[in-house]
């Protein structure tokens, strides 16, 4: 069994998770501070990929990145490389598909964060960067970690947009999900089934991990109990 599709899926998911980790955090953090009207609009735009069919995302991406389209043609002209049908083309697709997962979980975690902690930090002279990384992030660790793992899992399984933007080229752009489709299409049922099992195993493990993160709360030693706060 050629393991290339798994390795390819892992590197695509890894890179796009790294990107959305920071992009999602930044979006959640800064959008919370914008006026309500703008917030509502941005929220809809950034959540859209969650509800759109991946094929629609793939279509829109091709309209921008395709070698005959404006941006794709310009890129090909300047850098001599096309933006579609390479293994990293799939990163564009998965990044957009999984972005809302990270953005929304991070936003939920930030909204649940006790702002008085940040205010206290500011008034004792701590920089906003320090407060973000040393106080806010540890406080939201659980939600953000769960969101990251979930986004990674979704990236591993991405099919629709990926297949349109990166296609299926064995040994080049093949991922686990596109391989399953291809094997089924070519009647290689036995091999398709093995990849299905691989997929199931990965998904199962990831969901188990998310559950454990949410249950353990990551950090129980340092939480002020709610009862003490409201007393």
């Amino acid at each position: 069994m050629d393991w290339f599709p798994l390795l390819n899926s892992l590197r695509i998911a890894g890179i796009s998770t790294l990107i959305i980790f920071f992009a999602g955090l930044a979006a959640a953090y800064y959008i919370a501070k914008t006026p309500p009207a703008i917030k509502g609009l941005l929220d809809v735009v950034l959540t859209l990929p969650l509800v759109l069919p991946p094929t629609v995302i793939g279509y829109l991406l091709l309209r921008i990145l395709g070698p005959n389209r404006f941006f794709g043609a310009w890129f090909l002209d300047v850098f001599g490389t096309r933006l579609t049908m390479t293994w990293w083309s799939a990163v564009f697709a998965t990044t957009i598909v999984i972005f809302p997962l990270m953005y929304r979980t991070a936003r939920g975690a930030f909204e649940a964060f006790d702002e008085t902690l940040a205010y206290s930090g500011q008034s004792m002279g701590l920089s906003n960067t320090y407060i973000f990384w040393r106080i806010r992030m540890p406080g939201c660790k659980q939600g953000i970690l769960a969101g990251t793992v979930l986004a990674f899992a979704r990236a591993l399984g991405e099919y629709g947009a990926t297949s349109m933007v990166a296609g299926y080229i064995p040994g080049t752009t093949a991922t686990v999900s596109t391989t399953v489709y291809q094997l089924w299409r070519t009647n290689d049922d036995a091999l398709a089934f093995r990849w299905v099992l691989v997929n199931l195993a990965i998904s199962f493990t990831v969901l188990l991990a998310v559950n454990m993160i949410e249950k353990n709360g990551g950090n129980t030693r340092g939480r002020i109990t709610n009862s003490k706060r409201s007393a």
Binding site: S120, G125, R134
Partner: protein
């Protein structure tokens, strides 16, 4: 002048307009919840931005809408303590205090002030503990230590005892009094507990619906609250609408009686008398009353009275020792409202 505040801020239908000055003293903001006390503190701390006005602390202009000055909360250097103490839950006591000391760049001075503050607050045995492992009193001590080590210009305390059990409050109040004395600069204390405020502050500002209605020395504010809200907030339970009869007499509409007063009546529309100021004997403002209800308190009795032959909308409350009540207890009793104890109040 240590503190000058003159700010306006609109929040939906709520309009805050606060003006006050304070020297190196403790100024208390007394008001019901939602009156704008905490918002005023947040503005002084730089967390909320007023729409208009000016905030100056120790000669440093922190906010001035006309000159476009709006310093960051970090530059405001206000020692703000929230009612939940807002200790960083992921850090130990020592790390919390260390975080407060980060402003000091010289490591030698920093370490010295950290160990100094740990000693003076008796936290040496707790440095490795997380906030969730501390009692309410210990949390407050850590919060005070952490904020003082950050060298604030001014101390802002938002309901400092509301998270504590009542038996702890009294002890922590004594500790806070010492902290305030040692700090020696302006302290703004926000609370809705009039007793705490009376014991801890030099001056009191009465806040109602986003405005400061009265500001003055604590004894003056308690003796003569001047407004109905002030009387209620300082604990006056007997308040009646009045109609002026002449310069020194009024008709208390809610009690159905006429009263003489020692202060000249001007445009006041309410009068009040504290439940413990009513006397059983006296020559002026004497009334025979029917006892409508007796309420037993832990160490005193309150009786609700209705002047004989009247059907007033409000009853008069009189609080006295249990022994006094046992002596005079009867269905009808005579009371006197001393003219000097009657407070004339504006609406």
């Amino acid at each position: 002048m240590s503190l000058f505040v003159d700010i306006e801020k609109k929040l939906g239908s709520f309009y805050l307009k606060a003006e006050m000055t304070a020297e190196d003293e403790t100024l208390a903001l007394l008001g019901a919840s939602g009156c704008g006390k905490s918002m005023t503190l947040k503005c002084i701390a730089g967390i909320e931005k007023p729409d208009r006005g000016r905030i100056v602390v120790d000669g440093v202009t922190l906010f001035d809408s006309e000159r476009g000055i709006h310093l960051s909360p970090q530059e405001h250097r206000a020692g703000l303590i929230f009612q939940n103490y807002a200790l960083f839950p992921n850090m130990t006591v020592l790390e919390n205090i260390r975080a407060g000391a980060r402003r000091e760049k010289d490591p030698a001075i920093r370490e010295k002030s950290i160990s100094g503050i740990i000693d003076s607050f008796g936290l040496a045995g707790l440095t490795g503990h997380y906030p969730s492992m501390l009692s309410g009193g210990q949390q407050q001590r850590v919060a005070l230590a952490r904020i003082l080590v950050s060298q604030p210009r001014i101390l802002l305390l938002d309901e400092p005892f509301s998270a504590l059990d009542s038996h702890l409050r009294f002890r922590m109040e004594e500790e806070l009094r010492q902290v305030i004395r040692q700090f020696g600069r302006t302290v703004i204390l926000v609370s809705h507990n009039r007793k705490e405020i009376f014991r801890l502050s030099d001056r009191i500002a009465i806040m109602n619906n986003g405005r400061i209605e009265a500001i003055g020395a604590r004894s003056i504010v308690f003796d003569d609250p001047k407004t109905r809200t002030g009387a209620i907030l300082t604990g006056c339970k007997n308040i009646s609408r009045i109609r002026k009869k002449d310069d020194f007499s009024i008709e208390a509409l809610d009690w159905g009686i006429e009263l003489t007063v020692t202060k000249k009546v001007t445009d006041e529309s309410f009068a009040g008398i504290r439940t413990h100021e009513i006397k059983s004997a006296g020559c002026e403002n004497k009334f025979r009353c029917r006892v409508v209800k007796e309420v037993e308190n832990p160490f005193s009795c309150t009786v609700l009275l209705c002047p004989e032959g009247k059907e007033p909308p409000e009853l008069i409350g009189w609080e006295m020792d249990k022994s006094t009540w046992n002596r005079i207890r009867s269905d009808y009793i005579e009371i006197s409202l001393p003219p000097g104890s009657i407070m004339l109040l504006k609406g």
